[in-house]
Symmetry: C2
Subunit: 201 residues, 2 copies
Protein backbone atom coordinates (compact mmCIF):
# COMPACT_ATOMS: atom_id res chain seq x y z
CA UNK A 1 0.00 0.00 0.00
CA UNK A 2 1.27 3.47 -0.89
CA UNK A 3 1.58 6.10 1.83
CA UNK A 4 -0.99 8.85 1.94
CA UNK A 5 -0.23 12.51 2.42
CA UNK A 6 -1.40 15.73 4.01
CA UNK A 7 -3.38 17.98 1.65
CA UNK A 8 -3.37 21.56 2.94
CA UNK A 9 -6.03 23.74 1.34
CA UNK A 10 -6.22 27.51 1.72
CA UNK A 11 -8.01 30.33 -0.02
CA UNK A 12 -9.92 33.46 0.87
CA UNK A 13 -13.18 33.22 2.76
CA UNK A 14 -16.02 32.97 0.24
CA UNK A 15 -13.96 31.35 -2.50
CA UNK A 16 -15.77 28.02 -2.20
CA UNK A 17 -13.12 25.84 -0.51
CA UNK A 18 -15.66 24.05 1.65
CA UNK A 19 -17.90 23.17 -1.29
CA UNK A 20 -14.98 21.81 -3.30
CA UNK A 21 -13.73 19.71 -0.38
CA UNK A 22 -17.18 18.35 0.55
CA UNK A 23 -17.67 17.15 -3.00
CA UNK A 24 -14.27 15.46 -3.02
CA UNK A 25 -15.00 13.72 0.29
CA UNK A 26 -18.10 12.26 -1.29
CA UNK A 27 -16.46 11.06 -4.49
CA UNK A 28 -12.83 10.21 -3.68
CA UNK A 29 -11.90 7.22 -1.60
CA UNK A 30 -9.30 7.44 1.07
CA UNK A 31 -9.85 11.05 2.09
CA UNK A 32 -10.29 12.06 5.70
CA UNK A 33 -10.58 15.47 7.28
CA UNK A 34 -7.90 16.29 9.78
CA UNK A 35 -9.33 16.50 13.30
CA UNK A 36 -8.14 19.49 15.33
CA UNK A 37 -7.54 19.62 19.04
CA UNK A 38 -9.09 22.48 20.99
CA UNK A 39 -9.41 23.73 24.54
CA UNK A 40 -12.81 25.30 23.93
CA UNK A 41 -15.84 23.59 25.44
CA UNK A 42 -17.77 20.94 23.55
CA UNK A 43 -20.97 22.25 21.98
CA UNK A 44 -24.21 20.35 21.58
CA UNK A 45 -23.96 17.68 18.91
CA UNK A 46 -20.15 17.71 18.78
CA UNK A 47 -18.38 14.40 19.26
CA UNK A 48 -14.93 14.03 20.80
CA UNK A 49 -12.44 12.63 18.25
CA UNK A 50 -14.68 13.51 15.31
CA UNK A 51 -15.61 17.18 15.60
CA UNK A 52 -12.49 17.95 17.63
CA UNK A 53 -10.26 16.37 20.19
CA UNK A 54 -11.45 18.23 23.28
CA UNK A 55 -8.60 18.61 25.72
CA UNK A 56 -7.89 20.91 28.63
CA UNK A 57 -5.55 23.86 28.77
CA UNK A 58 -2.79 22.09 30.67
CA UNK A 59 -2.74 19.13 28.36
CA UNK A 60 -2.68 21.40 25.29
CA UNK A 61 0.30 23.32 26.62
CA UNK A 62 2.10 20.10 27.49
CA UNK A 63 1.50 18.93 23.90
CA UNK A 64 2.96 22.21 22.61
CA UNK A 65 6.03 21.64 24.77
CA UNK A 66 6.38 18.10 23.42
CA UNK A 67 6.16 19.35 19.80
CA UNK A 68 3.02 17.30 19.20
CA UNK A 69 1.33 19.81 16.87
CA UNK A 70 1.89 20.43 13.17
CA UNK A 71 0.61 23.93 13.93
CA UNK A 72 -1.45 25.59 16.61
CA UNK A 73 -2.88 29.01 17.30
CA UNK A 74 -4.47 30.82 20.18
CA UNK A 75 -7.80 32.45 19.30
CA UNK A 76 -9.25 34.64 22.05
CA UNK A 77 -8.79 32.46 25.12
CA UNK A 78 -8.68 29.08 23.43
CA UNK A 79 -6.09 27.00 21.66
CA UNK A 80 -6.67 25.21 18.37
CA UNK A 81 -4.09 22.89 16.86
CA UNK A 82 -3.43 20.04 14.42
CA UNK A 83 -2.10 16.98 16.28
CA UNK A 84 0.74 15.28 14.45
CA UNK A 85 -0.18 11.84 15.74
CA UNK A 86 -3.59 11.76 14.03
CA UNK A 87 -2.22 13.00 10.71
CA UNK A 88 0.74 10.63 10.69
CA UNK A 89 -1.36 7.62 11.64
CA UNK A 90 -3.82 8.27 8.81
CA UNK A 91 -1.03 8.87 6.30
CA UNK A 92 0.53 5.55 7.27
CA UNK A 93 -2.85 3.92 6.67
CA UNK A 94 -2.70 5.28 3.10
CA UNK A 95 -5.18 8.09 3.69
CA UNK A 96 -5.10 11.58 2.27
CA UNK A 97 -5.65 13.91 5.19
CA UNK A 98 -7.38 17.15 4.26
CA UNK A 99 -6.69 20.25 6.26
CA UNK A 100 -8.54 23.45 5.39
CA UNK A 101 -6.59 26.22 7.05
CA UNK A 102 -5.70 29.89 6.67
CA UNK A 103 -2.45 31.01 5.09
CA UNK A 104 -0.71 31.61 8.39
CA UNK A 105 -1.55 28.12 9.64
CA UNK A 106 -0.47 26.62 6.33
CA UNK A 107 2.89 28.37 6.54
CA UNK A 108 3.40 26.99 10.04
CA UNK A 109 2.66 23.49 8.75
CA UNK A 110 5.11 23.99 5.92
CA UNK A 111 7.82 24.55 8.52
CA UNK A 112 7.00 21.38 10.45
CA UNK A 113 6.58 18.87 7.58
CA UNK A 114 8.27 18.27 4.25
CA UNK A 115 5.63 15.96 2.86
CA UNK A 116 2.54 18.17 2.59
CA UNK A 117 0.78 19.07 -0.65
CA UNK A 118 -0.24 22.74 -0.57
CA UNK A 119 -3.18 23.88 -2.70
CA UNK A 120 -4.43 27.44 -2.93
CA UNK A 121 -7.96 28.05 -4.20
CA UNK A 122 -8.30 31.53 -5.67
CA UNK A 123 -11.22 33.52 -7.03
CA UNK A 124 -11.21 34.53 -10.72
CA UNK A 125 -11.00 38.15 -9.51
CA UNK A 126 -11.47 40.20 -6.36
CA UNK A 127 -14.65 41.68 -7.81
CA UNK A 128 -16.08 38.19 -8.23
CA UNK A 129 -15.08 37.27 -4.66
CA UNK A 130 -16.88 40.35 -3.33
CA UNK A 131 -19.89 39.35 -5.44
CA UNK A 132 -19.99 35.90 -3.86
CA UNK A 133 -19.69 37.24 -0.32
CA UNK A 134 -22.38 39.87 -0.96
CA UNK A 135 -24.73 37.26 -2.43
CA UNK A 136 -24.69 35.33 0.84
CA UNK A 137 -26.36 38.39 2.34
CA UNK A 138 -25.14 37.55 5.85
CA UNK A 139 -22.43 40.14 6.28
CA UNK A 140 -22.43 43.86 6.98
CA UNK A 141 -20.55 46.18 4.66
CA UNK A 142 -17.83 46.46 7.30
CA UNK A 143 -17.50 42.67 7.52
CA UNK A 144 -17.28 42.45 3.77
CA UNK A 145 -14.52 45.03 3.66
CA UNK A 146 -12.58 43.17 6.34
CA UNK A 147 -12.93 39.93 4.39
CA UNK A 148 -11.75 41.60 1.20
CA UNK A 149 -8.69 42.99 2.95
CA UNK A 150 -7.90 39.58 4.37
CA UNK A 151 -8.36 38.07 0.92
CA UNK A 152 -5.78 40.42 -0.57
CA UNK A 153 -3.36 39.51 2.20
CA UNK A 154 -3.86 35.80 1.52
CA UNK A 155 -3.55 36.11 -2.26
CA UNK A 156 -0.11 37.64 -1.77
CA UNK A 157 1.05 34.28 -0.36
CA UNK A 158 0.10 32.11 -3.36
CA UNK A 159 3.76 31.62 -4.23
CA UNK A 160 4.23 29.65 -1.04
CA UNK A 161 1.86 26.95 -2.34
CA UNK A 162 2.48 24.03 -4.71
CA UNK A 163 -0.71 24.26 -6.75
CA UNK A 164 -3.14 27.00 -7.68
CA UNK A 165 -6.73 26.26 -8.61
CA UNK A 166 -8.89 29.16 -9.74
CA UNK A 167 -12.49 28.51 -8.72
CA UNK A 168 -14.17 29.98 -11.76
CA UNK A 169 -16.56 27.10 -12.41
CA UNK A 170 -17.18 24.84 -9.43
CA UNK A 171 -17.09 21.52 -11.29
CA UNK A 172 -13.88 22.38 -13.03
CA UNK A 173 -12.27 23.39 -9.70
CA UNK A 174 -13.40 20.12 -8.08
CA UNK A 175 -12.00 18.20 -11.02
CA UNK A 176 -8.67 20.01 -10.80
CA UNK A 177 -8.20 19.30 -7.09
CA UNK A 178 -9.18 15.71 -7.79
CA UNK A 179 -6.51 15.44 -10.48
CA UNK A 180 -3.92 16.99 -8.16
CA UNK A 181 -4.74 14.37 -5.51
CA UNK A 182 -4.53 11.53 -8.02
CA UNK A 183 -1.27 12.81 -9.47
CA UNK A 184 0.28 13.13 -6.02
CA UNK A 185 -0.65 9.52 -5.31
CA UNK A 186 1.79 8.62 -8.10
CA UNK A 187 4.76 10.40 -6.55
CA UNK A 188 7.68 8.02 -6.64
CA UNK A 189 8.72 8.74 -3.07
CA UNK A 190 5.30 7.64 -1.79
CA UNK A 191 5.29 4.45 -3.79
CA UNK A 192 5.84 0.96 -2.45
CA UNK A 193 6.39 -0.40 -5.95
CA UNK A 194 8.88 -3.21 -6.03
CA UNK A 195 9.45 -4.93 -9.34
CA UNK A 196 9.16 -8.61 -8.75
CA UNK A 197 11.88 -10.71 -10.27
CA UNK A 198 10.43 -13.58 -12.25
CA UNK A 199 10.58 -17.11 -10.98
CA UNK A 200 13.07 -19.09 -12.99
CA UNK A 201 11.15 -22.22 -13.61
CA UNK B 1 -1.49 32.02 -20.68
CA UNK B 2 0.36 29.63 -18.35
CA UNK B 3 3.75 28.27 -19.36
CA UNK B 4 3.94 24.70 -20.59
CA UNK B 5 6.55 22.17 -19.52
CA UNK B 6 8.69 19.28 -20.65
CA UNK B 7 7.22 15.86 -19.88
CA UNK B 8 9.95 13.22 -19.90
CA UNK B 9 8.61 9.67 -20.14
CA UNK B 10 10.72 6.57 -19.64
CA UNK B 11 10.06 2.91 -19.00
CA UNK B 12 11.31 -0.46 -20.18
CA UNK B 13 10.83 -1.49 -23.77
CA UNK B 14 7.52 -3.34 -24.06
CA UNK B 15 5.83 -1.59 -21.16
CA UNK B 16 3.42 0.31 -23.42
CA UNK B 17 4.83 3.88 -23.25
CA UNK B 18 4.09 4.54 -26.93
CA UNK B 19 0.47 3.42 -26.65
CA UNK B 20 -0.12 5.57 -23.58
CA UNK B 21 1.43 8.64 -25.24
CA UNK B 22 -0.37 8.20 -28.56
CA UNK B 23 -3.68 8.10 -26.77
CA UNK B 24 -2.83 11.24 -24.79
CA UNK B 25 -1.82 13.08 -27.98
CA UNK B 26 -5.25 12.32 -29.38
CA UNK B 27 -7.23 13.39 -26.34
CA UNK B 28 -5.25 16.16 -24.60
CA UNK B 29 -4.89 19.60 -26.06
CA UNK B 30 -1.60 21.38 -26.05
CA UNK B 31 0.66 18.34 -26.28
CA UNK B 32 3.46 18.14 -28.82
CA UNK B 33 6.14 15.54 -29.29
CA UNK B 34 9.68 16.84 -28.96
CA UNK B 35 11.48 16.76 -32.32
CA UNK B 36 15.02 15.38 -32.16
CA UNK B 37 17.95 16.43 -34.26
CA UNK B 38 19.97 13.73 -35.99
CA UNK B 39 22.90 13.36 -38.34
CA UNK B 40 21.56 10.19 -39.92
CA UNK B 41 20.18 10.38 -43.45
CA UNK B 42 16.53 11.14 -44.11
CA UNK B 43 14.49 8.05 -44.94
CA UNK B 44 11.58 7.88 -47.35
CA UNK B 45 8.50 9.56 -45.96
CA UNK B 46 10.36 11.46 -43.27
CA UNK B 47 9.91 15.22 -43.12
CA UNK B 48 12.54 17.65 -41.88
CA UNK B 49 11.35 19.49 -38.79
CA UNK B 50 8.62 16.93 -38.10
CA UNK B 51 10.22 13.49 -38.07
CA UNK B 52 13.60 14.94 -37.11
CA UNK B 53 15.70 17.99 -37.68
CA UNK B 54 18.16 16.56 -40.19
CA UNK B 55 21.52 18.28 -39.80
CA UNK B 56 25.07 17.42 -40.76
CA UNK B 57 27.86 16.23 -38.54
CA UNK B 58 29.67 19.57 -38.35
CA UNK B 59 26.56 21.49 -37.43
CA UNK B 60 25.66 18.93 -34.75
CA UNK B 61 29.08 19.19 -33.17
CA UNK B 62 28.94 22.98 -33.27
CA UNK B 63 25.56 22.80 -31.50
CA UNK B 64 27.10 20.53 -28.85
CA UNK B 65 29.86 23.11 -28.33
CA UNK B 66 27.28 25.87 -28.00
CA UNK B 67 25.32 23.89 -25.39
CA UNK B 68 22.24 23.81 -27.62
CA UNK B 69 21.06 20.34 -26.60
CA UNK B 70 19.12 19.24 -23.54
CA UNK B 71 20.78 15.89 -24.10
CA UNK B 72 22.44 14.05 -26.97
CA UNK B 73 23.94 10.67 -27.63
CA UNK B 74 26.04 9.03 -30.28
CA UNK B 75 24.56 5.78 -31.58
CA UNK B 76 26.87 3.88 -33.92
CA UNK B 77 28.11 6.60 -36.22
CA UNK B 78 25.26 9.05 -35.81
CA UNK B 79 24.30 11.70 -33.32
CA UNK B 80 20.80 12.11 -31.88
CA UNK B 81 19.87 15.01 -29.62
CA UNK B 82 17.08 17.12 -28.16
CA UNK B 83 17.47 20.75 -29.24
CA UNK B 84 16.77 23.21 -26.43
CA UNK B 85 15.41 25.88 -28.76
CA UNK B 86 12.45 23.78 -29.96
CA UNK B 87 11.50 22.67 -26.45
CA UNK B 88 11.78 26.16 -24.95
CA UNK B 89 9.83 27.78 -27.77
CA UNK B 90 6.95 25.31 -27.38
CA UNK B 91 6.95 25.67 -23.58
CA UNK B 92 6.70 29.44 -23.95
CA UNK B 93 3.74 28.90 -26.29
CA UNK B 94 2.05 27.05 -23.39
CA UNK B 95 2.62 23.58 -24.86
CA UNK B 96 3.47 20.40 -23.00
CA UNK B 97 6.41 18.88 -24.83
CA UNK B 98 6.56 15.10 -24.62
CA UNK B 99 9.89 13.36 -24.78
CA UNK B 100 9.98 9.57 -24.71
CA UNK B 101 13.54 8.67 -23.82
CA UNK B 102 15.62 6.01 -22.07
CA UNK B 103 16.75 6.41 -18.49
CA UNK B 104 20.23 7.58 -19.41
CA UNK B 105 18.88 10.32 -21.67
CA UNK B 106 16.36 11.34 -19.01
CA UNK B 107 19.12 11.67 -16.43
CA UNK B 108 21.08 13.90 -18.79
CA UNK B 109 18.02 16.08 -19.25
CA UNK B 110 17.58 16.29 -15.51
CA UNK B 111 21.03 17.81 -15.29
CA UNK B 112 20.31 20.46 -17.91
CA UNK B 113 16.83 21.63 -16.86
CA UNK B 114 15.08 22.22 -13.56
CA UNK B 115 11.58 22.45 -14.97
CA UNK B 116 10.97 18.98 -16.39
CA UNK B 117 8.30 16.56 -15.18
CA UNK B 118 9.72 13.04 -15.08
CA UNK B 119 7.35 10.09 -15.38
CA UNK B 120 8.38 6.45 -15.23
CA UNK B 121 6.02 3.83 -16.65
CA UNK B 122 6.61 0.45 -15.05
CA UNK B 123 5.21 -3.03 -15.66
CA UNK B 124 3.20 -4.70 -12.88
CA UNK B 125 5.98 -7.31 -12.71
CA UNK B 126 8.97 -8.51 -14.69
CA UNK B 127 7.10 -11.72 -15.54
CA UNK B 128 4.30 -9.66 -17.08
CA UNK B 129 6.82 -7.55 -19.04
CA UNK B 130 8.38 -10.71 -20.45
CA UNK B 131 4.90 -11.92 -21.33
CA UNK B 132 4.16 -8.76 -23.31
CA UNK B 133 7.44 -8.88 -25.19
CA UNK B 134 6.98 -12.57 -26.00
CA UNK B 135 3.43 -11.96 -27.22
CA UNK B 136 4.72 -9.58 -29.88
CA UNK B 137 6.47 -12.60 -31.34
CA UNK B 138 9.08 -10.47 -33.10
CA UNK B 139 12.09 -11.10 -30.91
CA UNK B 140 14.48 -14.03 -30.51
CA UNK B 141 15.02 -15.52 -27.08
CA UNK B 142 18.38 -13.74 -26.93
CA UNK B 143 16.76 -10.39 -27.76
CA UNK B 144 14.16 -10.97 -25.08
CA UNK B 145 16.81 -11.70 -22.49
CA UNK B 146 18.72 -8.55 -23.41
CA UNK B 147 15.52 -6.49 -23.10
CA UNK B 148 14.76 -8.03 -19.73
CA UNK B 149 18.24 -7.21 -18.47
CA UNK B 150 17.90 -3.65 -19.70
CA UNK B 151 14.50 -3.43 -18.02
CA UNK B 152 15.98 -4.41 -14.67
CA UNK B 153 18.66 -1.75 -15.10
CA UNK B 154 16.02 0.89 -15.87
CA UNK B 155 13.74 -0.09 -13.01
CA UNK B 156 16.61 0.54 -10.61
CA UNK B 157 16.45 4.24 -11.56
CA UNK B 158 12.78 4.83 -10.69
CA UNK B 159 13.79 6.92 -7.69
CA UNK B 160 15.22 9.54 -10.03
CA UNK B 161 11.72 10.24 -11.41
CA UNK B 162 8.91 12.40 -10.06
CA UNK B 163 6.00 10.09 -10.80
CA UNK B 164 5.53 6.36 -11.18
CA UNK B 165 2.67 4.91 -13.22
CA UNK B 166 2.29 1.14 -13.24
CA UNK B 167 0.83 0.06 -16.58
CA UNK B 168 -1.37 -2.71 -15.31
CA UNK B 169 -4.51 -1.73 -17.19
CA UNK B 170 -3.93 0.50 -20.20
CA UNK B 171 -6.88 2.85 -19.64
CA UNK B 172 -6.02 3.40 -16.05
CA UNK B 173 -2.37 4.16 -16.97
CA UNK B 174 -3.51 6.65 -19.63
CA UNK B 175 -5.81 8.26 -17.12
CA UNK B 176 -3.03 8.54 -14.54
CA UNK B 177 -0.60 10.23 -16.92
CA UNK B 178 -3.43 12.53 -17.97
CA UNK B 179 -4.06 13.50 -14.36
CA UNK B 180 -0.36 14.10 -13.78
CA UNK B 181 -0.28 16.46 -16.78
CA UNK B 182 -3.37 18.32 -15.59
CA UNK B 183 -2.06 18.60 -12.04
CA UNK B 184 1.28 19.95 -13.26
CA UNK B 185 -0.58 22.61 -15.24
CA UNK B 186 -1.74 23.94 -11.86
CA UNK B 187 1.75 24.36 -10.44
CA UNK B 188 1.96 27.81 -8.91
CA UNK B 189 5.32 28.60 -10.47
CA UNK B 190 3.90 28.06 -13.97
CA UNK B 191 0.87 30.21 -13.34
CA UNK B 192 0.28 33.67 -14.71
CA UNK B 193 -2.58 34.26 -12.25
CA UNK B 194 -2.81 37.85 -11.13
CA UNK B 195 -5.68 38.79 -8.87
CA UNK B 196 -7.32 41.83 -10.31
CA UNK B 197 -8.08 44.59 -7.83
CA UNK B 198 -11.63 45.77 -8.16
CA UNK B 199 -12.52 49.13 -9.66
CA UNK B 200 -13.71 51.47 -6.96
CA UNK B 201 -16.75 52.96 -8.57
Amino acid sequence: MNKGFLLVVSGPSGVGKGTVLHDLMNTQHNLVYSVSATTRGKREGEIDGISYFFIDHDKFEKMIENDEFLEYARVHNNYYGTPKEFVERKINEGKIVILEIDVQGAMNIKKSTDDGVFVFIAPPSLAELRNRIEKRGTETLEDINIRMNNAIGELKCINEYDYLVVNDHLNSAINSVNEIINAEKHRVFRSDYVYKEEDDD
